[in-house]
């Protein structure tokens, strides 16, 4: 990619959210809100034991309850066609098997869906659900990570795949660690954490015909959900429609099609009516994945002057007994700093729990907590400023792939962040700063996230009245996708954003990836760019072919388009509008669909987003309470498309990071293999009073090598490193190094 082609932002650099009014007035329709006359309501019944088998289900009292249409379990399920035939006696699924809904009597985790009750009203379904009696035969379960740690092993997925990035990795000299001048070793633990978006997961499943299914389902990828459901129910792909236009937050919880979605589809099939199923908050802990409990060991060797000479990073992540969930935990360590000798190990521990999934900054938020905490420990041991230590080890090229970075302004982020924060006022000694009886701590951490761009399509349509419709089956789980895409289209076509409509969240639209891995702007933004560019060129050709057209002799690079009017050059006072062109050619609309994807540049450059966070905490020496007082966050993510939504996304990432650092923890009672955190009173996420002023700064320079719009992803980098910055600030305030998140009162007093 020679150049970034996105014209400068004008006239509105920060377009307000195009769907903002719909959302704040309640006019936006979320998955559970689609109206159907004959809608039936489903309530899931989930297992109360962690491992064993169902020995009896007495559904009779429930079936006799008022309004009940069906009680469906493995005994009477209409069945998922893609599941293999049952074996007698039932056998446990081998590792690598996605969970099968109502398949047999076996229990794999506490909270597993074992039956669904469908009734005329929600209240009737809830009451009937309480009447279903289920008997279990329990088997000994293992849910305790610490007690089972020694069973962790290389994932089978990795054993089979010699090119897996999770293979044991060693670069450089194995003797570098033992011979290092300064050595440091520490273990860091992340508890299980749940996404817990405010909107719970919900679905309405509608069988339009025996072979036609429509679902209004909260998910992060309508196309992948469509493919997944088509495969499961053996339907032609086009016979499955998935709609997820508005999403009330997800953070990764909607990347997969989860069992409750399949349960609702089965229920709708059974009762031959549209069926709605909304997860209660307690079911959100066992139904849609989570950030896995992860233990990491970091060993660092360095010179006395703070040059990293060796890093060993080992990570063990928790997964279910039936599936392997791998995440990037140890991968960032290979690319982050200029260290010649690096080894990583990654292991999985299968437990009797449901399968984890990606949660904002998956793996990297976990891994960078460990790496960036360890660097802070090293800085303290060397009596070196933590920022200076990072500058001394700045990687000018990717040390893992030996490639130049496509762009990297991390040093500029460090400079901006430290200046804005006032890092120079930090006294190096822990416990050396106080105000009003509170211990004051300054901490910082770096951040990085790999660049992801997936093949994406977009269709751009110019209408006869000069308005524009752009479509792509992309998603908006909150960042403001429609707004950013509208802005890209407006800039490319020279049309006011008010005249542009962007459609998303519908599987019948042109192919696009789900919203994850910070890939939407880089992927879909490029497709919108390309489609609008192609549309503009087509319209310019059509315009030039009009008799006596002012465009016929115009130089393409001199043409200016403003408010839908095309001027042959900047000085020209005569113009022709898009609407004029369509009118002359008697066209109701002109449309172009383009596919956009990466090319050979992926092998020429190493592509990442970079950033850093600076945090001030106050810690009460009396009670041990930690409050974050100030955050400055900086990111280098290439070109910023919409400053306002980007800023908002960064703030959200920091809020998530504060939650991760100080309060989020799903606690399990291992005697029962069951969570005791089952609501927002016991699983804490930050409230407004926990969130201070958060200042956001962007480098905002296009990365000319990554894609035509010069923009990289922001969603993940916003959270990666935040927890370490908070933990480092707590250490600076108190002199206590907490290596086990979250940092709560009991760990500080």
């Amino acid at each position: 990619m020679a150049n970034a082609h996105l014209p400068p932002a004008e006239p509105e650099p920060s377009l307000n959210r195009v769907d903002g009014r719909l959302k704040v007035t309640g006019a936006a329709t979320y998955s559970a809100e689609y109206p159907f006359d004959n809608l039936a309501h489903a309530v899931l019944i989930t297992s109360t034991i962690a491992k064993g088998r169902i020995t009896n289900i007495n559904a009779k009292p429930a079936e006799a309850a008022p309004g009940v249409l069906a009680v469906i379990s493995h005994r009477n399920t209409p069945g998922v066609p893609a599941y293999p035939p049952l074996k007698q006696p039932a056998e446990r699924a081998p590792i690598g098997t996605a969970f099968r809904v109502f398949y047999d009597e076996l229990i794999y985790f506490s909270g597993q869906p074992v039956a669904v009750v469908v009734a005329q009203t929600l209240e009737q379904a809830q009451q009937a659900a309480s009447l279903v009696e289920i008997d279990y035969q329990t088997e000994t379960h293992q849910t305790d990570f610490v007690a089972n740690r020694s069973k962790a092993a290389i994932a089978m997925n990795v054993q089979r795949n010699k090119t897996s990035p999770f293979q044991d990795y060693d670069r450089g000299d194995p003797d570098a660690m033992p011979s290092a001048e300064v050595k440091l070793e520490a273990t860091y633990t992340i508890p299980t954490q749940h996404h817990q978006p405010l909107e719970p997961h919900a679905i309405i499943a509608v069988w339009e015909a025996d072979d036609k299914l429509t679902v209004y389902d909260k998910n992060q990828g309508v196309k992948s959900a469509q493919g997944n459901l088509a495969q499961a129910f053996k339907l032609p792909r086009d016979n499955v429609k998935v709609n997820a236009q508005f999403i009330g937050g997800a953070f990764g919880s909607g990347i997969r099609v989860w069992p409750h979605t399949v349960a609702a589809v089965l229920a709708a099939k059974q009762v031959k009516r549209p069926v709605k199923l909304v997860l209660g908050r307690e079911l959100m802990f066992t139904s849609v994945g989570y950030r896995p409990f992860t233990e990491q060991k970091l060993a660092i060797g360095a010179t006395k002057t703070g040059i990293l000479t060796a890093i060993m990073h080992e990570g063990i992540g928790q997964t279910s007994a039936y599936e392997e969930h791998l995440e990037r935990t140890i991968l960032a360590t290979r690319a982050m700093y200029a260290c010649l000798n690096v080894s990583t190990r990654y292991r999985l521990l299968n437990l009797d729990v449901n399968t984890p999934t990606w949660m904002r900054g998956p793996g990297d938020a976990t891994g960078m907590f460990a790496l960036e905490s360890a660097l802070d420990e090293l800085a303290f041991a060397l009596q070196l400023d933590p920022l200076e230590l990072r500058l001394r080890n700045h990687a000018d090229a990717d040390p893992e792939r030996n490639l130049p970075w496509s762009a990297k302004s991390l040093k500029e982020c460090y400079r901006m962040g430290s200046e804005q924060f006032g890092w120079k006022n930090r006294k190096p000694e822990p416990q050396s700063m106080q105000t009003d009886g509170m211990l004051v701590g300054y901490g910082m951490a770096s951040s990085l996230y790999g660049f992801h761009r997936h093949p994406s399509k977009a269709k751009a349509m110019m209408q006869a009245d000069g308005s524009v419709v752009v479509q792509s089956a992309t998603m908006d789980i909150g960042p403001g996708t429609g707004t950013a895409m509208t802005q890209i289209a407006a800039r490319m076509l020279g049309v006011s954003p008010k005249k542009i409509r962007f459609d998303l969240g519908d599987s019948s639209l042109p192919d696009a990836p789900g919203q994850n891995g910070s890939a939407t702007i880089p992927s879909v933004g490029s497709a919108v760019h390309d489609a609008c560019k192609a549309l503009k060129n087509k319209l310019l050709i059509l315009g030039a072919s009009m008799p006596g057209s002012i465009l016929s002799s115009a130089w393409p690079d001199e043409i200016e388009i403003k408010n839908g009017r095309i001027y042959p050059n900047a000085e020209s006072r005569s113009s022709v509008s898009y609407a004029d062109i369509l009118k002359y050619h008697k066209l109701p609309q002109v449309e172009m669909t383009e596919e956009s994807k990466s090319g050979p540049e992926r092998d020429q450059y190493s592509m990442y987003s970079f950033g850093c966070h600076f945090v001030e905490v106050h810690v009460s020496p009396v009670t041990g309470e930690v409050r974050v007082k100030r955050v400055v966050t900086c990111a280098d993510v290439g070109k910023i498309i919409n400053d306002k939504t980007a800023r908002s996304q960064s703030i959200g990432g920091v809020v998530g990071g504060i939650g991760m650092a100080l309060m989020e923890e799903s606690v399990m009672d291992h005697r029962y293999g069951r969570y005791v955190t089952s609501d927002f009173a016991s699983y804490h996420i930050p409230v407004h009073a926990d969130i201070p002023q958060i200042e956001v700064f962007f480098v905002d320079q296009p990365d000319v090598h990554v894609n035509p719009i010069g923009a990289k992803g922001l969603g993940e980098i916003a959270i990666v490193g935040v927890a370490a910055a908070v933990a480092n600030a707590v250490f600076h305030a108190t002199g206590k190094r907490v290596r086990e998140l979250p940092i709560t009162v009991d760990k500080l007093v």
Partner: protein, 332 residues
């Protein structure tokens, strides 16, 4: 939630009779806790007796007392200028609890009657002696980070319960020696706040000393001698909207740097608001100093016992007592 009957009697007498004569009937006011319990099938009343329209909504100044009707909203008390002037500790405690939305629904009587937030109580897959007497205490050998350190059994028995009472208001009322006015099928009576909630004592299903059919009509708080020197300190896992790990209500009457009278109560440490009588005794007549506060805290902590996850409370609680006393005494 199970189907239930809903009635709205027009008089106090009628309401009391409806509940007194039907073991499955229950009063409902703000419903901020009861509705949750019903959704989880922890409470399954056959009949809900809605008392929201009964005339128990006044805040009155009486001779020597402040009287707050049982149906006065938490937010009304918290924003009442005369209450703020005469009983600031109440306002501080109320504002430390729940969220603005909940305080707008929750009543004073209901606040006293809210049930524990112990997770074992809320999940029917776990044993819980408070929910099903004799089923065992899940928290005792389980996750007990939030649980009691006072009034707990020395030797666990099959009826043990180590849950804590979640109310902030009750802690302040306990410190202020409030009286709970109740009306029942056999007439009216007054219960001193410290006798209103009870320790589990093998009947953890019983949170209070209210008899069947008795309804709280008001709380009366003696005119305080301590409007100046009070503090409600709440230690919690986040800045707002979290139950207390430990809380302290401190009220002092100080004359020329000497403590004439003192009241201390703690929340988050027992099955009831925990009055610190011994510490009060020690402080009375003493000169204000951090040293004497520290001694009082040590006395207050005698008899505390920790479980696997709540030993930190043994450290946080005395610190919190000292801090609350210092802030109340404006001693920096």
């Amino acid at each position: 939630m199970k189907p239930f009957e809903y009635v709205r009697p027009s008089t106090l007498q009628e309401a009391i009779e409806l509940v007194a004569t039907n073991p499955k009937a229950q009063f409902i006011a703000g419903g901020t806790n009861l509705i949750d319990l019903m959704k989880h099938n922890i409470a399954a009343p056959g009949k809900l007796v809605d008392i929201n329209h009964l005339p128990l909504k006044k805040i009155e100044k009486r001779d020597g007392f402040l009287r707050i009707g049982a149906l006065v909203l938490n937010s009304e008390v918290a924003s009442h200028k005369r209450v703020l002037a005469s009983h600031p500790l109440l306002v501080q405690a109320l504002n430390a609890g729940a969220s603005g939305q909940l305080r707008n629904m929750a009543t004073v009587g209901g606040n006293l009657l809210q049930r524990t937030r112990c997770p074992y109580f809320y999940d029917r897959a776990f044993p819980c002696n408070k929910r099903i007497p004799g089923s065992g205490c899940g928290a005792l050998g389980g996750i007990n980070r939030m649980h009691a350190i006072f009034g707990v059994p020395e030797k666990p028995d099959p009826r043990s319960c180590i849950a804590v009472h979640p109310s902030d208001l009750s802690v302040a009322l306990s410190a202020l020696e409030a009286t709970v006015w109740v009306q029942g099928p056999h007439g009216e009576r007054q219960i001193p706040m410290n006798d209103f909630h009870r320790l589990p004592n093998n009947r953890p299903e019983q949170d209070t000393t209210l008899a069947n059919g008795e309804l709280i009509t008001a709380v009366e708080i003696p005119d305080a001698v301590f409007p100046k020197h009070v503090h409600y300190l709440k230690v919690r896992d986040r800045a707002s909207y979290a139950f207390a790990l430990v809380s302290v209500a401190a009220a002092l009457d100080i004359d020329q740097n000497r403590i004439k009278t003192v009241r201390l109560a703690m929340g988050g440490v027992a099955h009831k608001p925990w009055r610190l009588f011994e510490a009060e005794k020690l402080l009375t007549g003493q000169t204000v100093s951090e040293t004497i506060f520290r001694q009082a805290a040590e006395v207050a902590m005698q008899g505390a016992r920790a479980f696997e996850h709540n030993a930190y409370k043994l450290k946080v609680a005395p610190n919190a007592i000292v801090q609350a006393l210092k802030l109340a005494a404006s001693l920096s």
